[in-house]
């Protein structure tokens, strides 16, 4: 077998709408599952994924194998005592500017299903839920069909591949709220409640869905798993270009020539993504800055183009790799108005559970609107700066508000003159905006 360098998208081809089970099997589909179930103990599967260096692709970048290993596993002397564990797939892709999981869900649903089964085996979960955002109708249709195929082939259900391992997979389509992407809020949503986050600890790996040990993994994360099992840890580690291992879907949107998604090695410099893959800026536009990984990441500037897309390097540059889908700010879009759009999103999507987020985000929106509409006072910029601290890490119940503050705090730092221009009542930007 070729040592392919684009495992996640190898089955995504322009001449067919999606990979069927037959297409998936042709490229070694369900081989990883067979290796895991027939040759390895659950703990060994955890170790493989940990050794491979796979980190969560939902944005936080936590080691996937390590997360799995935190699930309390039955001890030998517990034999016969049934323990309920759950695997939950986070397919609630709602971070503005992010469109990577949709591709994987729509184009190669069996890759995700195989990843789910292997992950469930590794943590000994008997039930898995795919939590899919309600708007992803085509993904829901293709997953439903693929699950039926997988059940018919004996990959899902009782005694998978004639082993003692059994797994049911259910698809839950959500009804739309960004906060559902937060792991503990997602679990409340799955339990049929308002999606407010839960206090942590306890963490879901110990007490999650209905109080049982639960692992929540992102769609793209799980799509990596079959390949690690099939081609091995060494192969996977060889795919990264720097500190992080494997490949990832990177994207770019905004006024670039060819917006899109590309599977590239971890550690690919941002410049290559924006200039080579996305073709650079559209005619007549210049690059002013970018959000490297979705709406809740800090702005970076053209001077950061040579930063490699890997968790620690982007953090060192002052932002987060997040979801790896870059939102490009051009020189003719007002950064203050862009930040207003982002903060309106976060204010609307705040679940309202904790006061700083519920009240602080609308306050942020009001201040930004006042500034843009010519009612801004110089002290408003200090208030905005204070808000970025008051809604920052440690002051709110979950990461929504701190995420919302990231583009704001970096815009205040990098685009301060744009804010000030409104306050001294130079409305030229208003008229063109």
């Amino acid at each position: 077998m070729d040592k392919m360098d684009k495992p996640l998208t190898q089955n995504i081809k322009a001449d067919r709408p999606f990979a069927t089970l037959a297409d998936y099997l042709k490229t070694g589909g369900y081989e990883g599952l067979s290796i895991a179930i027939k040759n390895l103990q659950p703990k060994e599967v955890q170790q493989w994924v940990k050794d491979a260096g796979l980190r969560g692709r939902g944005g936080a970048g936590f080691s996937t194998g390590l997360k799995w290993s935190l699930v309390p596993m039955p001890e030998a002397n517990d034999a016969g005592k049934p323990q309920t564990h759950y695997l939950v797939v986070n397919g609630d892709e709602m971070e503005p500017g992010t469109f990577k999981d949709r591709l994987l869900l729509e184009k190669d649903p069996h890759q995700l299903i195989e990843g789910i089964i292997i992950a469930a085996y590794a943590i000994q979960a008997q039930t898995a839920y795919i939590f899919l955002r309600g708007e992803y109708r085509l993904a829901a249709e293709r997953l439903t069909h693929a699950l039926e195929e997988a059940r018919a082939q004996g990959y899902v259900g009782g005694h998978i591949l004639d082993s003692d391992f059994s797994l049911q997979i259910h698809l839950h389509t959500s009804a739309g709220r960004y906060i559902c992407g937060e792991e503990s809020a997602l679990l409340n949503a799955l339990e049929g409640k308002r999606a407010t986050p839960r206090p942590k600890p306890p963490f879901a790996v110990v007490s999650g869905l209905w109080g049982k040990p639960t692992v929540v993994n992102n769609v793209e994360t799980l799509c990596n798993v079959p390949h690690i099992l099939h081609y091995g840890v060494e192969w996977y580690r060889s795919l990264g270009r720097g500190a992080d291992k494997g490949t990832k879907l990177f994207g770019a949107s905004g006024r670039v020539r060819r917006p899109g998604l590309w599977e590239l090695p971890m550690g690919t410099p941002i410049r290559e993504i924006i200039e080579d893959h996305a073709g650079g800026m559209r005619e007549g536009y210049k690059l002013r800055g970018f959000l490297p990984g979705g709406a809740s990441t800090d702005f970076l500037l053209p001077e950061h183009l040579d930063v490699p897309m890997e968790y620690d390097a982007v953090a060192k540059a002052g932002s987060r790799m997040g979801t790896g889908t870059i939102i490009v700010l051009d020189d003719q879009t007002c950064p203050v108005q862009m930040v207003l759009n982002l903060e309106q999103f976060f204010a609307q999507e705040s679940c309202g559970w904790c006061t700083p987020c519920r009240d602080g985000l609308p306050w942020t929106v009001t201040l930004l609107k006042d500034i843009i509409e010519g009612r801004g006072r110089p002290e408003d910029l200090d208030t905005l700066s204070r808000l970025t601290r008051m809604l920052g890490p440690g002051n709110t119940f979950c990461a929504l508000a701190p995420g919302a503050m990231e583009p704001l705090q970096s815009a205040l730092k990098y685009f301060r003159a744009d804010f000030e221009r409104y306050i001294i009542h130079d409305n030229t930007l208003l008229e063109t905006g």
Binding site: L138, A175, A189, G192, A195, P259, F345
Partner: protein, 162 residues
């Protein structure tokens, strides 16, 4: 709204109840299917009336207030009548940058409705929605179940074929 002729339980139709029961079998307890149940009712009736909400609460042995808390939390549960086809226009960052506001204005003007209003023939309602995950084709909208891409210059033509 269409009146169900086969009322069998608290104002819900037999098929609605069957579909809700099928979902219940996937979860640990009945109350977990509250979102699915509301979506099932909405699929059949277009929206969730007070009467339906109370019927679902009764079926799930949950309180109407608790279920209302769930119904009003989620963006895609409609507690008011909407047109037969709902047009969700993305208003998040990339679409905003590439002309989503103009798309929304063109659609509203074409249908002669304000945002959230039903067109006079009961066919359409235009609603805002957050990022639809198709930013490489911004601006986008979801028309019923279908995603419509690259709407900057010809939203009305692409959606209504006119």
């Amino acid at each position: 709204m269409q009146e169900s002729t086969n009322k069998v339980f608290a104002g819900l139709s037999a098929s609605e109840i069957d579909e809700i029961h099928a979902e219940i079998s996937h979860y640990e307890d009945k109350s977990a299917v509250s979102i699915e149940a509301l979506k099932i009712v909405q699929k059949h009736r277009g929206w969730v009336s007070d009467e339906c909400l109370m019927a679902v609460a009764e079926l799930l042995e949950s309180s109407p207030a608790q279920l209302e808390g769930v119904a009003t939390f989620y963006n895609l549960i409609y507690r008011q009548p909407v047109g037969r086809t709902v047009i969700h226009v993305c208003n998040s960052v990339t679409c905003w940058m590439l002309g989503a506001e103009q798309v929304r204005e063109h659609l509203c003007r074409h249908l002669n409705v304000a945002l959230g209003e039903m067109s006079q023939d009961g066919e359409y309602t235009v609603l805002p929605i957050v990022c639809l995950g198709a930013c490489d084709h911004a601006p986008v909208a979801m028309v019923g179940d279908d995603l419509k891409l690259d709407l900057a210059d010809n939203a009305v033509k692409q959606i209504f074929g006119e």
